[in-house]
Amino acid sequence: MKRQLIAIFIISVLFATSGCWNRRELNTLAIIMAIGIDKAPEDGKIKLTTQVLKPDEIKAPAATGGQGSPKGVWVLTSTGHTIFDAYRNATMQSDRKLYNSQTKVIVISEEMARAGVRPILDFFDRDHELRRLSWLLIAKGEAKDIIEAEHEQEKIPAQAIESLVTASGATSMAVTVNLHEFLKMLANKATDPFASRIEIIAEEETEKKAAKKPKPEESQQNGPRKRMRLTGAAVFKDDKLAGWLNRPETRGLNWILGKVKSGIIIVKSPKDENQYVALEIIRASSKIIPEIRDGQVTITVEVEEEGNLGEQMSDVDLTTPEYFDSLERRQATVIKNEIAAVLRKAQKEWGTDIFGFGDAIHRKFPREWKKLEKKWDTEFSQIEVKVKVISTLKRFGLHTAPAGTKRE
């Protein structure tokens, strides 16, 4: 009898400890794919733009009879004093409960970023629904434009943005930062955060350059179609946007962080200075080695890179040892220049340690770091950074000389 009572007790406890319990059918949820955060026209308010999935549109592929690509999402805008407030206000327009767990992308407008992102990100850090794997992007301009922009290949623009971010390894000219990484950098006093930068390029511009013909009616009806593009990185000083890195500078940042996966390095042909040679990055790694001598901090950034000859436009066989040596040197120079560019901006212009130099010092010289920590903001701009690039060329593809040219 006693044992049975205990068993019943244990089982009933199980039923009571199910934790946060909420039954929601899929068709009662408004699944958010992307979030954009702007400053509202009203004073001190926040404008929240959400991209909500329309499952019905995605279900029937061209069932309605190809009237262009049906939009798979619905863009919903609401305002509020805080993010949470804006979320709840959105439910006055949406009949379904906004559901955050599948959010792929969070876009913050330049204006908001300049004012500081810490107040904004609190909600995303606190709320249990949001996952910290969402990509964080800073919009050049309005975030709403990004969320509203369409994509030719994807019915769900948020997925397109996600693919842009994850595929950026092909050039290594963009950074991939998710909410978790960003919050980690923000929490770290020594390191300043950075995020991807995204911007709108109006279709008109590119269209006009290509052909003067007017597009079919639909584009005229909808106004100029918008396209988005990843362009470099946004660099923060503490939680405030300090400035932008262009694409080579962004790759410089990736070199230092050892995050370069692939990409093309363009150098001039050693034979013919008017022709270009494309070198494909196969693998790269980096080491940040801090040193303290007589209280002077020096950082050595060691980048090792291995590339292949991917393409050349000059009419000579470049696969000789001499040319290869020369190409390797040119390759190293390009890498050095990219690193130098980002170092100059970060150290001299903004004084933001986005490279984690402070962390490296902390790890190697914990005692000295305690003294250094307080004045690191100013110290960072002063330290000497040596860049060492070891770059090699390995293979040259399927043929040696371009067709019809002779080996020298």
């Binding site: 199910s18 934790g19 319990w21 059918e25 068709n27 949820l29 794919m33 019905d56």
Partner: protein, 534 residues
């Protein structure tokens, strides 16, 4: 918990049923030496039995002796009765008497030893014994002046031949199956195991039906205590009728309140023989082709006789496919319900989008869909089994159309749910031995998933596993050799080791003599040194 309810139930039943002992068999008296008395008694006992044949005759020449032969028409082989009993009694006895002359007192012994040319002749001294013998198809000879009757085995009735059983079909392996006749079945076993250690002990169970039940085991390999325990449990059965081995199963199983079977069954002699050789006990019941095997472990459901006849590699893969199918069949509706109603965040986005698209516009919650489709599937299955075959096909076509196509296009049910239920149904056929168990587990899990999500699934799994490890089949842990783990035995559970590597029997059951064959039996080509010599 179950024991308590069991006690209460059995007490209730006791109060209900009249506790009076049944009237004792009034025929338990000895046979009389007067033939008339015996005749009257037997014919009164068998009153209104139109199939009873009583053939009265006078035997011998000098001293005409009254005698009668009694049997049930239809249960005996008529040629035997005519050629080997009636003819010798009437003709040969006369010759024997003419030659030497036999006193009336010795006539019985003479008949038994010299006259009857039947394989098995016994003596019966009570009326009850005579009745039992007649009822089981034997022919009884009663002679005037003798209180002992002769019982000749003349059993022979219309039976179904040995056919391929429909339940356990194989591609490779013997195709014969048990029949409804106990003797045929024991013969099938004997033909597999030609060994004096194969013991076949028969007992009669069922006060009305008096069904022959045979306990088969291999002495020396089986654990004798298990045999004693089985006999004890069988002896305790005090019921009217045993029409199928399922009756016995429910009287002797270890966990009557569990949805898991602790007694196995098979329709194939080769499987039964294999179980015997592993040290299990097989219970054959007259009147059914299904033999019971004990102890029965959960893992036996995943073993098929064909695993052992084909080569080990594919057998191992198939075994894992069965495990996979079992898990699919048990878990897929529950996981689908849990994911769509409680944890959409766990789905990869692409999958979520297509699932959300499918759920769009469907009127019922996922749990209702899952349970409803489950019920409809069970209805279809049941209809398919019970109906005559030609109509059964029509039912399956209608079912497939209605459920597969129309329900989805009408927007009543989401397409993924149809897929989930179909997978579930097909997968449960892969492990047919426990398809009823999977249905129950599936129901529990789906309901729990519908209420608590994944947490509910975990609760149900924990509960079911706790129950499973607490089960015993004749004292053998139900989940062994997995829990408690017995590593040597895993060679026939997680994989199917080649025969030369299966040197020991399952230890938990065949602990008595675990070694089945020599070690190092792996076939090898002759070594190089040998080749040099030749």
């Amino acid at each position: 918990m179950f024991h308590k309810t069991g006690q209460i139930l059995s007490r209730l039943i006791k109060q209900w049923s009249p506790n009076k002992p049944r009237p004792a068999a009034d025929q338990n008296e000895p046979l009389s030496s007067s033939i008339q008395v015996n005749l009257n008694k037997i014919s009164s006992v068998f009153a209104n039995a139109s199939d009873l044949v009583i053939r009265q005759l006078q035997i011998g020449t000098r001293e005409q002796t009254e005698a009668f032969v009694v049997y049930l028409d239809g249960l005996v082989e008529k040629t035997i009765v005519n050629d080997n009993i009636l003819e010798p009694l009437t003709l040969e006895l006369r010759q024997a008497q003419a030659n030497g002359g036999v006193s009336r007192k010795r006539v019985l012994a003479l008949i038994k030893k010299q006259v009857l040319s039947v394989g098995q002749v016994k003596e019966a001294t009570t009326v009850q014994a005579v009745i039992d013998a007649v009822l089981s198809g034997e022919t009884v000879i009663v002679i005037d002046g003798s209180a002992v009757a002769l019982v000749a085995n003349t059993r022979g009735w219309e039976t179904r031949g040995v056919q391929e059983p429909p339940t356990e079909s194989v591609v490779r392996g013997p195709r014969e199956g048990f029949t409804e006749t106990l003797r045929t079945n024991t013969a099938l076993l004997r033909r597999k195991i030609k060994n004096i250690n194969l013991k076949l002990e028969t007992m009669k169970i069922g006060k009305q039906t008096k069904t022959d039940v045979c306990i088969a085991y291999l002495k020396g390999i089986v654990n004798d205590k298990l045999v004693e325990e089985v006999k004890r449990r069988l002896a305790e059965i005090d019921t009217d009728s045993i029409l199928e081995s399922g009756y016995i199963e429910q009287f002797i199983e270890d966990a009557p309140y569990s949805f898991l079977p602790t007694v196995g069954n098979t329709e194939k002699p080769d499987i039964a023989a294999a179980k015997l050789l592993e040290g299990r006990i097989v219970i054959l019941t007259d009147g059914t082709p299904f033999a019971l095997t004990v102890p029965y472990l959960f893992m036996e459901a995943f073993q098929s006789s064909e695993d052992y006849y084909s080569r080990p590699f594919y057998s191992t893969i198939v075994r894992w496919i069965r495990f996979t199918a079992f898990f699919l069949s048990v878990f897929s509706p529950a996981i689908y319900v849990a994911l769509t109603t409680f944890h959409p965040e766990m789905l990869p986005p692409a999958l979520l989008i297509s699932m959300a698209a499918a759920r769009e516009g469907t009127p019922f919650p996922a749990i209702v869909e899952a349970l409803g489709m489950g019920v409809i599937y069970e209805i279809l299955r049941e209809a398919g089994i019970r109906l005559p075959k030609p109509i059964g096909q029509a039912v399956s076509i209608v079912g497939a159309l209605v459920i597969g196509e129309s329900a989805v296009t009408a927007g009543l049910i989401g397409a993924p749910m149809v897929i989930v239920i179909s997978i579930t149904a097909i997968a449960s056929f892969v492990v047919p031995a426990i398809s009823d168990v999977t249905a129950v587990m599936r129901l529990i899990l789906t309901v729990m998933a519908g209420i608590f999500g994944q947490y509910g699934i975990m609760m149900a799994v924990a509960g079911i596993l706790t129950h499973m490890v607490s089960l015993r089949s004749l004292g053998v842990p139900y989940l062994s050799p997995l829990a408690p783990t017995n590593i040597p035995d895993l060679k026939d559970v997680l994989i199917r080791a080649p025969w030369w590597a299966m040197s020991t029997r399952p230890r938990v059951i065949g602990w008595h003599r675990p070694v089945r064959q020599k070690f190092h039996l792996k076939p090898e080509p002759p070594s190089d040194t040998n080749r040099d010599r030749t």
